[in-house]
Amino acid sequence: MSLHFELATAVDAAFADHLDGPVEQKQDALIIRLKNGVALTVRYAAEDAYSLRWTYGTSEAAIDTAPLHSGLATFPNHFHDAAGRVAADPLTRPDATPADNLQRLIGALLDDPTLGAADIG
């Protein structure tokens, strides 16, 4: 929970102009709503165990570390795009700090809420 508290504080400070309200803190997750319509749910249990799942309109996508896609270059972290395809994670790294990963993702979602899903074959 203290990790989530730190992440919420960092996001509130770094993206204040892009947030549609303060970061919402649940017992097991953070909810981050961006002004561009993205709603991001963050579950960060440890540096190498996380799920970052977002909705944009009717679409839903995620980056997570479930250890199930060993054929991907970024195993265990991977990207579920809005079409239901699974691909290598284009953004986060389990050896990076949670704050760096989260800020990198939010920055990318502000630029492109689909995270370039249309370009993934």
Binding site: Q27, D28, T41, A45, D64, A66, P67, L68
Partner: protein
């Protein structure tokens, strides 16, 4: 047996009460998450995901939730113990 809060100042009693309630909520929340999978702990749920016994999602999110809730419960339990010990010195 004397009431636990009997010799505590109101501020400390309120803090301990709040921590106790949080512990209860965390325990119930964790129990609900794990019970949906018949798992005793987060590691057991992860094994179910790895073996394919349950689908990847939302089970993995529930596994992370369980870890976060368990870690928070442990931290709150430690804090409550420390505060209770300080208050009863």
């Amino acid at each position: 047996m004397a009431h636990f809060f009997e010799n505590l100042d109101p501020e400390t009693a309120a803090e301990l009460d709040q921590l106790s309630r949080l512990l209860y909520e965390l325990r119930e929340h964790l129990s609900t998450v794990l019970a949906a999978y018949g798992a005793d702990n987060p590691a057991a749920l992860l094994r179910q995901i790895e073996s394919g016994a349950v689908g990847e999602h939302p089970a993995y999110e529930h596994y992370l939730s369980a870890r976060i809730l368990a870690d928070t419960r442990d931290a709150a339990r430690t804090l409550l113990g420390e505060r209770a010990k300080e208050a009863n010195r």
